[in-house]
């Protein structure tokens, strides 16, 4: 059963952290587990007098927790997804999706592409912060995001094709 929607401030970090966990795992239960474990860990380190240095600490910690949790249960088959150019109608195709489908698609991607897509589509970080978070160079990050876009477009074309109104 899908959890009820609750309005949250988009500028706050913890809602974004939860969204990140959701995109990484594609599962509300696993996302909640990783999210709560990260916040709990931050509270514990803060209580020890060594609070997290910055917000990236939260996302870095959550990333590894999500990857560990994703290894449990059914695994997606390793395959090379098809790619195609981003379509001018992509926005309309995406609008037909709900968050759950998007999260399932992103969480099925291999890491570090999965982390790169999850972090990028939070629209929370600058490219430099993303490179720090994911420990990749700009060229590698660009390749991960770019091929993710093309693969997602290919998946969209297969699942939610768009037909021009004649």
């Amino acid at each position: 059963m899908r959890p009820p929607k609750i309005s949250v401030e988009p500028s706050q970090n913890l809602p974004q952290l939860y969204r990140f966990c959701y995109l990484m795992t594609g599962d509300a239960g696993k996302a909640q587990e990783a999210f709560q474990a990260t916040v709990r860990e931050a509270a514990l380190t803060a209580a020890r007098g060594e609070p997290p240095q910055d917000r990236l600490w939260f996302f870095r910690d959550a990333r590894w927790r999500c990857l560990q949790l994703s290894e449990e249960g059914i695994q997606a088959e390793a395959s090379t997804p098809e790619e195609c150019e981003v379509s001018p109608n992509a926005a309309k195709q995406i609008a037909q999706l709900d968050a759950e489908h998007l999260a399932i698609w992103i969480s099925a991607a291999p890491d570090p592409q999965r982390s790169a897509l999850a972090a990028y589509y939070l629209d929370e970080f600058t490219p430099r912060e993303m490179m720090t978070l994911l420990e990749v160079r700009s060229g590698e990050l660009s390749n991960l995001i770019c091929s993710g876009r093309r693969q997602f477009q290919s998946w969209l074309d297969a699942t939610t094709p768009h037909y021009d109104d004649e």
Partner: protein, 260 residues
């Protein structure tokens, strides 16, 4: 070649540019985005990319949040706020420009104030004499080897220049040559060359008050520097005596201090 032609690196940066503008985005990415928007080859692709990304971000923002998870959002204060580091602020071109402009203005003001502090009545003429000193050759002066202190009588007897005396601080110094000339405003100037440290002495009329025609006085020794030359001047009885030499104020100070 168009200035909007994009390098491979810029294309890579444009492909990972933040979906919405962020204050912390670095300059390279901002430039790459600007070029992608204006590039003939890339603008369409970039516009489609932005539309694609915005649509995905809109879906991400609709991720459902359970009540149980939302309660944890109260811990927001655990996340430290990002502070702008002073180094980053200092590297901002706008801040650098303002700092540089302020430094230049402060420098000009300081220089002007310092010059004003060192000014004394007749200092502009003294400066001109330093320029004369720097361009004078020994052959231009009439050869005369004597004590500088004795030249007052010569100036009075030969040129009818009253009070053109060398102060006692410099009176014992031996001279090498002497001349009297009119400056560009017709004022009589006595110039004495001295072998010691290749100094030159100048004696010229003090600046006069245009209202009453009286000479403007100043007390004690006043220093000035101009074009690598230093001078020390003293007013007495309507005339100014100035000793000049190539160097700085500190080179002349011992002569004046010795007498004091």
């Amino acid at each position: 070649m168009s200035i909007f032609r994009m390098s491979r690196r810029e294309k890579a940066l444009a492909r990972i540019a933040p979906v919405t503008e962020k204050p912390g985005t670095d300059r390279r990415t901002r430039v790459a985005v600007l070029r992608a928007k204006r590039s003939k080859a890339m603008s369409t692709e970039f516009a489609q990319q932005q539309a694609f990304d915005k649509a995905v971000v809109a879906v991400v923002q609709t991720i459902p949040v359970s009540t149980e998870v939302a309660e944890w959002f109260r811990n927001e204060k655990l996340i430290p706020k990002t502070k702008r580091r002073w180094r980053k602020v200092a590297r901002n071109p706008a801040v650098l420009s303002v700092a540089l402009a302020t430094a230049v203005i402060m420098g000009v003001i300081t220089l002007t104030v310092t010059e004003r502090l060192n000014d004394f009545p007749g200092s502009s003429m003294a400066q001109k004499m330093l320029t004369v000193a720097s361009s004078t050759r020994g052959t231009e002066l009439e050869r005369l080897e004597t004590s500088a202190g004795g030249l007052g009588d010569l100036f009075f007897m030969k040129y009818r220049l009253e009070h053109y005396d060398v102060p006692q601080e410099f009176a014992d110094i031996k001279t090498a040559g002497v001349r009297v000339f009119d400056d560009d405003e017709g004022r009589r100037v006595a110039q004495i060359s001295v072998p010691e440290k290749r100094m030159q002495f100048f004696i010229f009329p003090a600046e006069r008050n245009p209202k009453d025609g009286k000479p403007k006085e100043f007390s004690g020794w006043k220093y000035l520097e101009h074009e690598g030359w230093a001078g020390v001047a003293k007013f007495r009885a309507g005339v100014v005596f100035m000793a000049a030499m190539r160097g700085e104020e500190k080179d002349l100070a011992p002569y004046v201090a010795q007498a004091q």
